[in-house]
C-alpha cells in the first residue's frame, strides 16, 4: 500500500514541477533560440545530478528516526504551503494556475530582453532555462530523496519521478506547447494533501509517537487531511459568497 502511495506521490509531485519547467523552457527556446536554452537545461540537469549524488548517500547514514523527524517537518512545511494555495484557488480566493497565461508572460519577457552573448550562448535564454529547470527540479530531487530514503526505497521514488519525466517530456516534445490541458490545479491539490499526509505520519513517528494500526494509519491520516481540506474549501466558498475577497488574497 505505502509503496503504491510512494510512487504515486513522487509521480504527481514531479509531474507538476516538470510541467512548470517545460513551460519556461518552451518560452525560452521559442523566443531566444533552442541551443542556449537546451544547454541551460543540460547544465541544470547536471547540477541537479550533483545535488542528488551528494545528498542521496548522506541521507542513508542518518538514523531513521532522525530522518523521519526532519523529513516529516520539512514535508509538513512544504505540504501546508501547497495545501493553503490549493484551498485558496479551489475556493476562488486565488487565481487558478494557467500554464498558457504563464507561457505568454514568459514568452513576452524573453522576446523583449536584451541580447548578451557569453561563452557563445545567448545568456538570457541560458539562464532562464537553467533557473527554471534547476529550481523546479530541486523540489523534485528533494521530494524523491526524502520520500525514498524515509520509506527505505529511493529506487521506487525515482521510478515515480522518471515516469513523470517520460510522460511530461514526451507529451511536451509531441505538442511543442505548454501542457494547458493537464489538470494542474487538481494535481497541486493532490500533492499538497500527500505531502501533508506523509509529513504528519513521519513527523509524529520521528518525534517518538506510535500510530494506532502502525502503517495502516497512513490511510486514516490521508482521509483526515482530505476531509479537512475539502471542509476548508466549502467554508471559504461560503465566506466568499457573503463577503468580497480582499485584493491581497486574490494576488
Amino acid at each position: 500500500m505505502s509503496a503504491a502511495f510512494l510512487v504515486a506521490s513522487a509521480f504527481l509531485a514531479s509531474a507538476v514541477e516538470m510541467v512548470e519547467a517545460l513551460t519556461i523552457v518552451l518560452a525560452a527556446g521559442l523566443a531566444r533560440g533552442w541551443r542556449s536554452s537546451l544547454v541551460g537545461v543540460g547544465a541544470a540537469t547536471l547540477a541537479l545530478g550533483v545535488v542528488v549524488a551528494v545528498l542521496g548517500p548522506a541521507l542513508t547514514v542518518i538514523p531513521l528516526s532522525t530522518l523521519r523527524l526532519v523529513v516529516g517537518a520539512l514535508l509538513l512545511v512544504f505540504g501546508l504551503q501547497w495545501l493553503r494555495k490549493a484551498i485558496l484557488r479551489a475556493s476562488g480566493y486565488r487565481a487558478l494556475h494557467h500554464e498558457d497565461a504563464i507561457f505568454t508572460r514568459e514568452l513576452e519577457q524573453a522576446e523583449h530582453a536584451a541580447r548578451v552573448d557569453r561563452a557563445g550562448l545567448d545568456w538570457y535564454g541560458f539562464t532562464i532555462a537553467f533557473k527554471g529547470v534547476f529550481l523546479e527540479g530541486l523540489e523534485v530531487a528533494f521530494i524523491v530523496l526524502t520520500f525514498g530514503s524515509t520509506q527505505g526505497s529511493i529506487p521506487l521514488a525515482v521510478a515515480g519521478a522518471a515516469g513523470a519525466l517520460v510522460v511530461v517530456a514526451g507529451v511536451g516534445l509531441a505538442v511543442r506547447a505548454p501542457l494547458t490541458r493537464v489538470p494542474e490545479n487538481a494535481m497541486k491539490f493532490a500533492v499538497g494533501v500527500m505531502l501533508t499526509t506523509f509529513g504528519i505520519f513521519w513527523g509524529a513517528e520521528g518525534a517518538g509517537a506510535d500510530w494506532p494500526g502502525s502503517d495502516a494509519a497512513l490511510l486514516g491520516v490521508l482521509a483526515f487531511v482530505c476531509g479537512a481540506s475539502l471542509l476548508f474549501v466549502r467554508l471559504l466558498r461560503r465566506q466568499r459568497r457573503t463577503a468580497p475577497a480582499t485584493a491581497e488574497a486574490r494576488a
Binding site: 504551503q81 493553503r84 494506532p212 480582499t246 491581497e248
Partner: protein, 64 residues
C-alpha cells in the same frame, strides 16, 4: 556577506516560503509530540490537530 545573506535567503524562501507562521506551528506541534511521547503518553493525535489549527489560521490570514 551579501552572498551569504542571498544564500540564506534562498533557502529560507525555498523551505519556509511566505508563511513563517505555518513553519512555527509545525515546529510547536513536533515539540509537543516529542514531549508527550517522552512521558509515555499517546501523542499521535497532536500533529493532525496542529495541522488543522495551522491551516485554519493561515487561511484566515490569507482571506482577511
Amino acid at each position: 556577506m551579501s552572498r551569504l545573506r542571498a544564500f540564506g535567503g534562498f533557502w529560507w524562501d525555498f523551505v519556509v516560503g511566505d508563511d513563517w507562521l505555518s513553519a512555527a506551528g509545525v515546529a510547536i506541534g513536533l515539540v509537543a509530540t516529542a514531549a508527550l511521547a517522552a512521558e509515555g503518553i499517546a501523542a499521535w493525535w497532536v500533529l493532525p490537530l496542529a495541522v488543522l489549527v495551522v491551516l485554519a489560521v493561515s487561511l484566515r490570514r490569507a482571506t482577511r
